[in-house]
């Protein structure tokens, strides 16, 4: 059976007071002993089937969270392997951090459905369930990989591909030197490898850091700001962004009329999409913008609908109300600094939830943030945990690639010959290849033949 150790966040993120990080496999206990501390001590004897209270610390011994940890000994567990479960506080950050810390040790992020797969393969699940298990695993494995690659932000994927290309160039040359030593191709010097590795370690460090602040991956609750023209949507967006310095990327929309921004509000990651104002229009260009805005609504996890307090309800408002009725919506009335003309008698429930603000006077804005937070932690809006997991996995692969490059430098320091250095260089390239979803070993062979004149 597979004995490599896997880990994942086992609970659905964001909707509970507790999250569970599960580790399964031979190394589970060892990992727990390294990262779990009680009264400042680690390497504790974790008695099976008991809950142990303590803290999880990161690689710098800094406390991440207060936790309860349990150890279940093989074979009487779900996967029939050793299992560690870490119960930590709810919300995104703590669970994610703990998983990241776990993955720094000898284990890898579980594929979707992998605990179930192991349970089955280790004979834990009934045969009658086989078909169902196949379906679950089948649908997850392919799609999750696709999602993972698709959600890579364009710039990052470009940067990683560039790094891969740089390593590939060097590797092809090294392989040519090894496999065709009698030909007069330039020898790769150790210095060249050293220079590249050093610069790539720095580059990867930068990427890993940005991954921490969520700047890298498309991650967040898809939030669409909607309203008829000129109700203050863009000002609201600017407010949300300005209040929170963690703004990161600007992805130009495919039409000039939608803009996406990322922001993290008190631990809740939002991916905010500003849209064109919605109104019935004959103007062709504007019509496209309106259609675009509505199509964004269809994919959205959350809608922030903005009314103009100083004008009465119009047809366009009602159109929007109707359009978003099956969505999670935060209703906002802006421009309360002006006399109120908005009449919501027809929509009592909206009136009840309405948040009155004045962006101009900076009034009531805090309430929006509180409302969004409340909805998130109550679990009425959700972020796809698939994305979070992929982000953790990606970050982990970046770290692995960096570590491999450090091994390269280490080997160089120890005066190893180029064929040893090459081993970790390949490893670094493969880790990066996993992020962008390609098998790089085939590329290597092509490169050898396409770029070097070798052969009898």
């Amino acid at each position: 059976m597979n004995t490599d150790t896997i880990a994942a966040i086992a609970t659905f993120l964001g909707n509970a007071g507790i999250n569970i990080i599960r580790i399964s496999g031979n190394n589970a206990l060892d990992i727990a002993k390294k990262i779990f501390v009680k009264n400042g001590k680690n390497d504790l004897d974790l008695k099976p089937r008991y809950l142990h209270y303590g803290h999880i610390v990161d690689d710098n011994n800094k406390v991440i969270d207060e936790v309860l940890i349990s150890y279940m000994k093989a074979p009487n567990t779900y996967t029939k392997e050793n299992i560690i479960e870490i119960n930590c506080h709810g919300g995104l950050i703590s669970a994610k951090k703990i998983l990241e810390t776990v993955l720094l040790h000898d284990c890898r992020a579980a594929e979707r459905g992998e605990f179930t797969k192991r349970a089955f393969l280790n004979g834990r699940i009934d045969l009658a369930q086989a078909e169902a298990v196949i379906d679950i695993i089948n649908s997850k494995t392919d799609s999750s990989h696709e999602i993972s690659v698709n959600h890579l932000e364009g710039r990052l994927s470009r940067e990683i591909n560039e790094i891969i290309e740089e390593i590939l160039d060097l590797l092809a040359n090294i392989e040519v030197n090894i496999d065709f030593p009698e030909y007069d191709e330039d020898e790769v010097t150790i210095n060249k490898v050293k220079e590249l590795s050093e610069s790539l370690v720095n580059e990867l460090d930068r990427l890993i850091k940005t991954a921490d602040t969520g700047k890298i991956f498309k991650e967040g609750i898809k939030t669409v700001i909607l309203g008829k023209p000129n109700v203050g949507k863009s000002s609201l967006m600017n407010f949300l962004l300005n209040e929170n310095r963690a703004i990161v990327t600007e992805i130009p929309g495919t039409t000039r009329d939608t803009i996406e921004e990322y922001v993290n509000i008190k631990g809740v990651p939002l991916r905010i999409i500003d849209t064109a104002g919605i109104r019935d229009t004959d103007d062709k260009v504007e019509k496209i913008g309106v259609e675009k805005a509505l199509s964004k609504v269809d994919e959205a996890d959350l809608v922030i609908m903005v009314f103009d307090s100083s004008t009465d309800l119009e047809e366009d408002d009602e159109y929007i109300i109707n359009y978003v009725k099956n969505k999670k919506v935060v209703y906002i009335s802006n421009k309360t600094d002006l006399p109120r003309k908005l009449n919501l008698k027809k929509y009592e429930n909206i009136e009840k939830e309405l948040i009155n603000i004045s962006i101009l006077k900076n009034q009531g804005l805090e309430e929006i943030i509180n409302k969004v937070n409340q909805m998130f932690f109550e679990g009425s809006i959700n972020i796809s945990d698939e994305l979070i997991i992929n982000n953790v996995r990606h970050k982990n692969l970046l770290i692995k690639a960096k570590n491999s490059l450090k091994e390269v430098l280490n080997s160089i320091n120890n005066q190893m010959t180029i064929d040893f250095i090459d081993i970790d260089l390949k490893q670094a390239m493969e880790s990066l290849g996993l992020i962008v979803g390609k098998t790089v070993s085939d590329d290597l062979m092509d490169k050898i033949f396409n770029e070097f004149c070798i052969g009898k």
Partner: protein
Amino acid sequence: MNDKVREFLADSVDVAVIGAGHAGCEASLAAARLGMKTIVLTMSLDSIAMMPCNPNIGGTAKGHLVREIDALGGEMALNIDKTMIQCKMLNRSKGPAVHSLRAQADKNKYHAEMKKVLENQKGLQVIQSEVTDLKINEDGSFNVITKLGAYYRAKAVIITTGTYLQGRIYIGELNYSSGPNGLEPSTELSESLMDLGIEMRKFKTGTPARIHSDSIDYEKMDVQTGDEEIIPFSFMTDEINIEQVPCYITYTTEKTHEIIRENLDRSPLYEGVIKSIGPRYCPSIEDKVVKFSDKDRHQLFVEPEGLDTKEMYIQGMSSSLPYEVQIPMYRSMIGMENAQIMRSAYAIEYDSIDPTQLKSSLELISIKNLFFAGQVNGSSGYEEAAAQGLIAGINVVLSLTGKEPLVLDRSEAYIGVLIDDLITKGTNEPYRMMTSRAEYRLLLRQDNADERLTQKGYDAGLVTEERYKKFIDKKEAIENEIDRLKGIKITPKAETNDLLEKAGSVPLSKALSLYELLKRVELRYENTYELDTDRPKLKKEIKDYVETVIKYEGYIAKQINQVEQFKKLENKKIPTDIDYDEIGSLRLEARQKLNKIRPDSIGQASRISGVSPSDINVLLIYLMTFRGMGTHR
């Protein structure tokens, strides 16, 4: 064609090998040595173990293959040890895993010596006759029918036809049906194989001209000599003392390139007359000039073909340009101004099979006891051919005696990588072994081929008692020396530290075993003698081996760890009677590929292109269910 020739049963044998090139020689020797009544049929007795292209054996990765063949009890290494005229260990400046032996062979002698071995092999008949047809009898045996009318009834057949099937030589506008080197082609067998439902396709390769040595001005070339001390290929050869012959390095000139460019329209490759695919690592000089037009010269090697001939092989100059163009082209190279061509360069097109039709034993999936080995499987090179021949020869016997086949995996041998690549991924060009193809290069060294394989060869019955004893002795010597070094404590005495500093190392602060100390890069086994004056007198190969194991322990351990992961999926075997069509959850493409390739294990299945990770999951779960129902065997 010759309808009037009467067919008659000439003999009944266990194994018939068709072809006596490098694959056929190993295959027939292995089968006969394992006690089978064997015949080997060849187009010409004068072309047994012929080297129609380059006059050398070994090179990077290929040298490893030769060592592996030897460790398993094959013949190639012994034969090149007898017939080499120069030898070199390549990549000496790099790590031990990529050190590779390459020898220049005396071609005629290589052929003659191998022929002698075949002729003297008990249980092996060597027959000159073209095989024109292959028929399967109702009992599963074969009738191997020859042009002379004689047919041989064989329980099993190994096809090692190299580049002979439907061979066609191209020299400019001229092309004609021919085997390699102007020998007769095999014109009928290919069709007979297609009739058996075997998929064939055309491959292409080429060879340069041979030039009369006296017409070459070596003064203008760089000399390449062999190693001072020759390391033999075979673990059985203790030493080789020969006078070595030099090779030479020269270059093309701008004029060469001009001639080629002007005459490209006369090259059948560029004219599109040859449509088949040639190997990328063995490009013709036309290819090189076109593809790497920024290079103002290309390096060439001038190599002797033997001691009793003046033919010189011009490595790097294979070509299919017309003879009329070849003459000025060769003469435009440095030192070749007066070159006398003795044999022209040519390209050759031939039929080979799609190797994904084979099992890892090299037996055809669709026909029991029909094996294929060598260039006919889409590989290239003498060593690749010999390796497959040996494996087919061993497996034919295991099959006839009802035993499990000998399958080497990717972590055990280059032979394993070679065969797995061919049968799992297939190949769209003649396949050459390269060290970059091996995932576990550090473990597959040429110095430990015996450690990896001799036991397996012994178990299969091919390794002689003499070889086995030698292997065990060596293994013990290595283990004893490692244990001894681990037991020697070096303490930080002033005198010791002086010695260390003299050797360019840092002084000790606490006691250390000599084993640990030798991990320091700057210290060598040889320069630590003064710390260990009682050391036994050991052979160089043992000292080198011990040093490698100590110095690279960490890296080796890392790869062993990777191999353990790899083995997990390799060890999950798939029952041979599995019906992929029954597994509804497999995607269509995966089902088709799996049905075609019929992998032995989940590991092999995962290397098939078009089989996704989720297909592998489905397979794993299906196999579980299968086993659960008690039908798993």
